[in-house]
Symmetry: D2
């Protein structure tokens, strides 16, 4: 009667677990737009433990077209269990004086990615994400990874448009997006339902993402467009761009099997 | 810099929270099939703190076609935020000598219902659920709530069939499903990701569901069919029926804003 | 080697046909809003063979939550094959002097309903439609069919909001929506692909809908709201309301197995 | 009052047309499995005008992960309007003595692709299709296009699994799939609804696909697996493999703006 499983549902074998145990290997095509939002809006989203960055309004919008697997690696033979797309917004902050980013809003297409996100502190909801693909041959139906090619992306949730971005490739990128360098922090949060204690989460901790075996390929950059649209029950549009900086397209791979707790939030 | 929200994502207002704060008001049409499975399979799914029931193999399969709202009650004017269908399996057990049921597998259609389920200890995944509807007029396209009418339901997940049920109405039901009377217990579980501690969940507690303001309408019963289908990454089919008992159709309403922790599971 | 099937794909048995042969029995809950649009916009949408109505701008927006079946009637036991929701707009016109309506835009959730619509001349696309449901008991989670109850509905397509409506029930309706009385005409249209003939459709005919065995139940009316939202690749928003008239909620059933060709359009 | 649009819905501008006018440019990643089925089953699916091939049971199963656009080419900046995946089965036949293939069953993910298929004679239904992707860097989460790499694909419809395939890359392919060389024929079919004439389609013609500007890249082959699963309302499983031949993976591009009518079917 001892149950196994990294997540629910737990059974005597653990096979049914929505999220298989780490390590989780990821590879994805990214479309990223650096931008600036109202600094006060950014600051209003910082959890306890983070301080405003000196360039407080700096943000990035990220569309990712992922394939992931666990150590056994067989999920990509049943790709409904390995593929997902997501859109997220990160903002700039300081954590104990260190420059960091934090993910404030994120939408993803699959349940396993939703739960795996919560476990890492990403505040995930379900959404539909679309990103232009490149193919390994020249066609009017696909932009090449080449000068002048254009890529687009959208996110919607509950039948309402959340965001839209476009990037025109200008040249290979040496730096990549400004949001890539800093450490990524998040807040792991799991609510309580006991009466009278709805405002005392069972889990509430500032965490720092740890990932390893980073690879990057085909990084390009160029001018970009970005729009964030208001929607019922959503607040991401408070980060509507006041200026749009550079856009980036690249392929990225990494592995996750650890997470650092910075501190518990009272 | 103090964030609000019953669930993630948390903001200065709490408006974007995937799960709004309780109370949660529910109303739904139910199609339920009582059945028996292999007692050893049932016992293999009991968490620490539960003991086998003397009729250990007794289970129920429940399809529910829900509409829910919070205290403000405005969600049903934007029904993408209030409607969802789910399919779940409960099994029989004893908790401190008391007869209880526990939900072992459950699939649901929306993100807010998935997260709200995890908070209550339901081990939810996403799935697609379909249930025959009755309409308030006689038509060949709809069964009436009347003698001889037939209702069907299916659940699928990741493009694979999970279950199928059929119930033929025979007479109004005085007792309702045998699974309805006992208290419902679940396990709240939230994983940890820190390296070396993957098997030490951050939250792991046996909880008893508390709900109030129960209403029931139009309860009928009759003979039933039920099938559970194996699927990759799923284990519900270990509860495949060894015998199928009565089926039930009814409408049920309740409100949830509390949960009792029975004990923490080590 | 003689193939059968009312629609594609055709086989030696016809079982795989996307659309089973008529008759098609329908039952659905309706939320309807009568409104007026710019008369010039309405007239711009009239096909050859229709003339403007004297009240040219009069339109209706219809949300329907359907269950349908064929003569065998077994589809509702596998409701993924019987249930669908749709949203459509009809406008006023004259056909050989007779007052008619014509469906100018329509979105539906299922492939069989999309194809069945094309066969009848409805210009269907896929969309997601949500409509508030009533349940047969009093609950904060469901409006009753009673004075003061509020119902909402939305349609979206390709991740973009198409429309939103709200109706508050005021009293049982004796007349029903003004759009219900006139005959419904449509244009059956099936394109040609042969080079140089892209503008010569293979089928292009004005048709009048014929349906029988109409039933109506629980018809109520009251004040309403309606919005139509612009979207890429869509033009329904040219019918944005200049004034919103009454709203209606009712349940309707009918059977379809015939269609009258008014004339071929050159 | 003259309406425009290559397909419905037609308006004064044609912008809302579900299918934009040709040419249609396509690029896609393909996973193909050549196989043999019961020759009698294949022959039972041949429309009037086709004769059995001497190797009558030879078939192919094709999974394609497409991006498409029209002459303006802007759809790929809003990829919900350009991307779709599909799964289809082709069988071998003779047409006026010429070796051809014909598509007997096909499922696709988007409405525009569904309708565009009907126009070309593909008997499309909606389905969900998943195909393993390759990424331009080495990762445990993605197979490379290299010796020993494995790719998988699935199709499901209405919540039921339709097919599953796996291919292991062994070496670059010089020949490609045996199904690629012959011309592709299909049957354009559009039903009639007038009472008494349900069995007299309005359009019923044998057509030969014409496409131009073919490009192919990265063609590999190797051993393969293929399963076809029975499902309610489906008949593709009559083509269940009696033997599975080679599998192929490649990227393919073409343009379509013409179709040849071979003959009308009485």
């Amino acid at each position: 009667m001892s149950l196994k499983g990294y997540s629910v549902p737990r059974t005597s074998t653990g096979v049914a677990s929505l999220v298989p145990p780490p390590p989780w290997h990821y590879v994805g095509d990214f479309l990223v737009v650096d931008f600036h939002a109202d600094p006060a809006a950014v600051v209003s989203l910082l959890p306890s433990g983070l301080e405003p960055h000196s360039d407080a309004g700096r943000c990035a919008a990220i569309f990712a077209d992922w394939q992931s697997c666990t150590e056994d690696g067989e999920e990509f033979l049943d790709p409904v269990r390995s593929q997902f797309r997501e859109f997220y917004l990160v903002v700039n902050a300081l954590c104990d004086g260190e420059e960091v980013t934090i993910c404030t809003f994120i939408w993803v297409e699959k349940d396993f990615a939703l739960a795996r996100g919560w476990i890492q502190g990403f505040p995930k909801k379900l959404g539909e994400v679309w990103v232009t693909r490149a193919y390994p041959l020249a066609s009017r139906a696909a932009p090449g990874v080449a000068v002048g090619s254009r890529f687009g992306a959208t996110c919607s949730a509950r039948g309402t448009r959340i965001s839209r971005a476009r990037v025109t490739l200008e040249r290979p990128s040496e730096t990549g997006s400004l949001h890539s360098a800093p450490a990524l922090v998040n807040v792991r949060h799991f609510p309580r339902l006991a009466s009278g204690r709805h405002e005392e989460p069972a889990v509430h901790e500032l965490v720092k993402s740890l990932s390893r075996d980073h690879l990057i390929a085909d990084a390009w950059e160029g001018p970009a467009e970005l729009e964030l649209f208001p929607a019922a029950g959503e607040e991401h549009a408070i980060l509507a761009p006041t200026s749009v900086d550079r856009g980036y397209r690249f392929t990225f791979a990494c592995t996750v099997d650890d997470l650092e707790t910075v501190r518990t939030i009272d």
